[in-house]
Structure formats: structure tokens, C-alpha cells
């Protein structure tokens, strides 16, 4: 699992963030479509966790293994916790929480990218 996966997740987060921000501006509560988007991001993150663990086993570059994997695990948890928090607030607060969760995922992706080493395969 290499650089492109970070780009994919960040792009997904970007799209989700735009949709969420628009609905937030319209004062809408979190919609089914938002949760589907979170689900898509979640699938990508699970794939990234598996792929990242495999890649970590194969690489001979110096990566802080524990830190790397704990970031990947945290990433998987963020959309789930965010979705539960959001479901508890069926108002624009819920939409905001999803937006915060997506922003958190994007931020963590950048850190993981750094930890893995931003250049080379």
C-alpha cells in the first residue's frame, strides 16, 4: 500500500467535506448520503490498514512500525466514532461532527504519509 492510497483517501475526504459543508450551510442534518460517504471512506481506510500492514512487513525502509500501524488503526476508528456521535445529534451539529471527522481523517492521512516517508515507493 503506497503513496496513491493516501491520495485516494484525501480525495474522498475532500469530496465528502464539500458535500457536508454545502449541507451545513443549508442547515441540514446529516443525511443517508453522508453516511454512505463515510462508509466509502471507512472501506478505503480498512483496505489501507491491511495494505499498510503488509507493506510494512515487506519494506526495508526505516519506518516506525508501531507509530505507523497505530495511526492506521486510529484512522479506521475515526469515521465510526464520528458517525455514532453524529447519529446522536440529528441537526446541523451532526453534520458538523461528520465534517470534523472527515477533516481529522485527512489530517491523519498527511501524518501517515510523513511517517511512511513521502518519497519513493
Amino acid at each position: 500500500m503506497t503513496e496513491w492510497s493516501y491520495g485516494v483517501v484525501i480525495a474522498l475526504c475532500g469530496v465528502a467535506a464539500v458535500v457536508l459543508a454545502i449541507d451545513l450551510a443549508r442547515d441540514r442534518a446529516a443525511q443517508d448520503s453522508h453516511f454512505i460517504a463515510m462508509g466509502v471512506i471507512e472501506v478505503a481506510l480498512v483496505a489501507q490498514l491491511v495494505g499498510g500492514a503488509v507493506a510494512l512487513g515487506r519494506t526495508d525502509r526505516e519506518v516506525e512500525g508501531v507509530v505507523f500501524v497505530s495511526y492506521l488503526v486510529t484512522l479506521v476508528l475515526v469515521p465510526i466514532v464520528g458517525a455514532f456521535f453524529s447519529l446522536a445529534e440529528r441537526s446541523r451539529v451532526g453534520t458538523s461532527i461528520l465534517l470534523l471527522a472527515v477533516a481529522t481523517v485527512a489530517g491523519l492521512e498527511l501524518r501517515v504519509w510523513d511517517i511512511w516517508g513521502a518519497t519513493g515507493g
Binding site: E64, S70, T74, A88, E89, I97
Partner: protein, 133 residues
């Protein structure tokens, strides 16, 4: 002293708990890694990371628990957090030799999109909004 007018972890408070929770995890993780790997490299910065982690955990817990004691302790934690991010933010620019490695609060939380600077203000505003009548 009456109970807070509103449950601390509901409404916008829930969004606040989410962000505080993320920062509690982030700061705890950061301080564990820093202290676990090379504690002697920057003892002050790493201790401050640990302090930040404890404050975020405390604030998150108090918001979740609610009640007047939760409200009070959260107020103290958030106030200390504000003082911390302001003083570490200033010091990290002025006394760079004190901070060979970064903390959550270095440069006013630059590495975390300046959220560490915004968060205590949001926290204080929320606590003011929910203050016991």
C-alpha cells in the same frame, strides 16, 4: 450551586467532545511515543506534551460526565490549556533552544491546523453557555 442549564455533552457540546477526544488521543499518543523513544532529547517539550495529553483527557472526561463538578473541573482544565497553548506558543518562537522537538502547542498548534489555539476558546464559550444558573 445548581446543575448546569444544559448537559455538557449534548448539542454543540457533542461536537466539542469529539474534537477534545481526538486531541486527547493525539496528545497521549504523541507523548507516549516521545517519552518512549528518546526521553532525554527534549525533556521539557515532552513533559509538556504529557501535560497537554492529561488536560485534553480531563476536559473530555468532564464534558462527558457533566454536572456541576464536571463543569467546574472542565473550566479549570480548559483555562490551563489556554494558558499553556499561549505561553508555549510564544516561547516556541522566542526561546527555540527550549524546544528542540515540537509539542502539540508549539507555534500555537501550527502542526494541528491551529486547532489547539481555537479549542480552548470554543471550550470556554461552551462552558459559559452552559454555566449553572
Amino acid at each position: 450551586m445548581a446543575e448546569p442549564a444544559q448537559v455538557l455533552a449534548e448539542g454543540w457540546g457533542r461536537a466539542l467532545v469529539f474534537v477534545y477526544g481526538v486531541f486527547a488521543v493525539a496528545a497521549t499518543g504523541r507523548s507516549l511515543v516521545q517519552l518512549g523513544m528518546e526521553p532525554e532529547r527534549a525533556p521539557l517539550a515532552y513533559s509538556l506534551s504529557l501535560v497537554a495529553a492529561v488536560l485534553y483527557l480531563l476536559a473530555t472526561t468532564c464534558l462527558l460526565l457533566g454536572g456541576r463538578w464536571g463543569w467546574r473541573v472542565a473550566g479549570i482544565a480548559v483555562t490551563v490549556e489556554l494558558l499553556g497553548v499561549l505561553s508555549v506558543g510564544v516561547l516556541s518562537y522566542l526561546a527555540t533552544d527550549l524546544f528542540p522537538d515540537k509539542t502539540v502547542w508549539s507555534h500555537f498548534g501550527q502542526g494541528y491546523a491551529f486547532l489547539p489555539l481555537v479549542l480552548p476558546f470554543a471550550g470556554l464559550a461552551w462552558l459559559r453557555h452552559t454555566r449553572p444558573m
